[in-house]
């Protein structure tokens, strides 16, 4: 399959600080790829390297077969959307969107009528018809970000780069814009990279997710891959609100504190880490395999009731999602069993 963007051994440091190192990543044409990671993991720096807003200390960036490493920002034809919109405050919405077309050299510039038509089409696409004469200060945050996207799309970019596009918006607007961005992507089919630190956003919106840590990519895969088949302990611990529990592994058994639990596969003998997500634990049906856990807190969160459990004294507390009607209370002993076992043997 053809590749839209490829990073090879990409590295960037600022003074003595390494932001990105030895990064390899291939982006497929037309896909919506989320770059997810904790802050300082290099995801925004990577996005800026792709845009040409930073130049790499080492490595290459290819757009298709073309080496774009030394291409100037202006010549890369990327659409960049900033977290804080970065709209031109002295221009109207229509002038903002037309900006990229107006600054073209006379030979390549579309006619005024074409520009006008293009702006109107884009205003329709971002669902802001009739606001063309407003100024950015007269728009809400969500509207501003739509204008910023329209402005980026106006230049027919080869790739769309979004840097935490919904980071400055409130939860409700975020959800609406997320759905809307997915629709826009399906209609326009642009190869899109977007940076986020919101897991839910990344997993819900993207075709594939790249998990960043310490300036490199830990895993790239579909949301299912990332959630069900984490490639590294970091990914397992980062996604899905997992708690790390140190255990001892031996053959097809692991020992969690005083309790023995049978695992589906064989494990290398020695210390290991068990990653427990709220959905991995279920109230036990078979007393033989049950772990008697002590409830140390119960909270109501959304549809479920979430309880914090101590499997054994001295281990980190794990979480379990219970039905809202469950009567578990602080101090109770709740027999639980592990429905899913996510184990990484320590090196």
């Amino acid at each position: 399959m053809a590749i839209a963007i490829r990073a090879e051994g990409l590295a960037k440091s600022f003074g003595g600080t390494v932001a990105v190192s030895g990064l390899d990543l291939a982006v497929e044409p037309g896909e919506l790829l989320a770059l997810l990671g904790p802050s300082g993991s290099g995801k925004t720096t990577f996005l800026r390297l792709v845009a040409g807003l930073e130049s790499p200390t080492a490595g290459r960036i290819l757009f298709g077969d073309e080496d774009a490493t030394h291409l100037s920002v202006q010549d890369r034809r990327v659409g960049f959307v900033f977290q804080h919109y970065a709209l031109f405050r002295h221009l109207t919405v229509a002038e903002n969107i037309a900006y990229g077309l107006r600054v073209r050299p006379r030979r390549e510039r579309p006619s005024d009528a074409d520009i006008k038509r293009r702006v109107a089409d884009l205003l329709d696409l971002v669902q802001l018809p009739g606001l063309d004469r407003r100024r950015p200060a007269q728009l809400s945050g969500g509207q501003r970000q739509r204008v910023a996207l329209a402005r980026a799309l106006a230049v027919e970019p080869r790739v769309l780069l979004l840097d935490e596009p919904f980071g400055a918006l409130d939860a409700k607007v975020r959800r609406d814009l997320r759905r809307w961005l997915r629709e826009v992507h399906e209609r326009t089919g642009h190869t899109t990279l977007f940076v986020t630190h919101d897991q839910e956003e990344a997993l819900e919106l993207a075709d594939r997710v790249a998990i960043f840590d310490k300036g490199g990519v830990e895993q790239v895969g579909t949301p299912d891959d990332i959630l069900d088949r984490p490639a590294t302990p970091f990914v397992a611990g980062f996604v899905g609100e997992a708690v790390r529990v140190p255990v001892d592994a031996a053959g097809s058994w692991i020992r969690i504190g005083d309790h023995q639990v049978r695992t589906p596969g064989e494990n290398a003998a020695g210390p290991a880490e068990l990653f427990v997500r709220p959905g991995d634990l279920v109230p036990a049906t078979d007393p033989a395999t049950a772990i008697p856990a002590r409830v140390i807190a119960v909270r109501r969160g959304g549809a479920a009731r979430r309880a914090e459990l101590l499997l054994t004294e001295g281990l980190p507390a794990v979480e379990i999602d219970l039905p809202a009607g469950h009567c578990a209370r602080k101090g109770d002993v709740l027999p639980v069993s592990l429905a899913t076992i996510r184990l990484f043997t320590s090196r």
Binding site: Q74, F82, F88, R89, V103, R104, A152, V155
Partner: protein, 289 residues
Amino acid sequence: MSVAALRGWTSSHRSFREPSALPGFGITFGFAVSYLSLIVLLPLAVLLARAADLGLDGIWRVATTPRVLAALQVSFFISAAAALVNAVFGSIAAWVLVRYEFPGKRLLDAMIDLPFALPTAVAGIALAALYATNGWIGSLFAPWGIKIAFTPWGILIALIFIGLPFVVRTVQPVLQDLDREVEEASATLGASRAQTVFRVVLPALLPALLTGVALAFARAVGEYGSVIFIAGNMPFVSEIAPLLIVTKLEEFDYAGAAAIATVMLAISFLALLAINGLQAYSRRRLGHA
């Protein structure tokens, strides 16, 4: 005016005194008005009273004598030119101070304010020495028959010197706060560096720049000390209006001096009002209140 009428006035102008979570309007407004009256309006009123001795037609007669007209022209045109020159070079100086790191930056930053601190007569004498036909810079131009000191060019140079800090100091903080991402957005959209500067950066700086220009212009119009040492003070050529006022005072023609001053005041006020109007317009375009 009766109390009832007064009350009616305040209630129909609610925006003038609305209850606020940040009280203090009454006391600060009162203080500001009294202070302004004492420091600014009262002296100006005395000036107008003095000029009024001549009557309107008397003022007009003084102001339209050829020598006074020439001096007013010299004062206002050269002040405007100096303010425009400062707009360009002051902005560049502010840009360099904000955007780049270089050794001696703090020293340069402090030097910008020197024209504020130096007695202007000292500046005038130093500039005159430098730009005279036998001075370091003047002697470079002399072979081409260009005289700088003791001509209107000398006035221009002195006024540029004293006006520079106004532009730099008003533009600098705005440039400091200018969002770099806006420039980056412009670049990703294909704009060249020059296009970004002229289409994005300058419009954002415009309100501050106009304020700086207005201040530099106002300061230049009123400048006396440095100019008289470098101007040569030739009537009809390089004589500024403030010098003419001093001349009139020395001749004990107080009414004549007040008349010229009143005309200067009126022109300055109109010019500043125009610049402020432009400034308000450009601020509105940027989405400020």
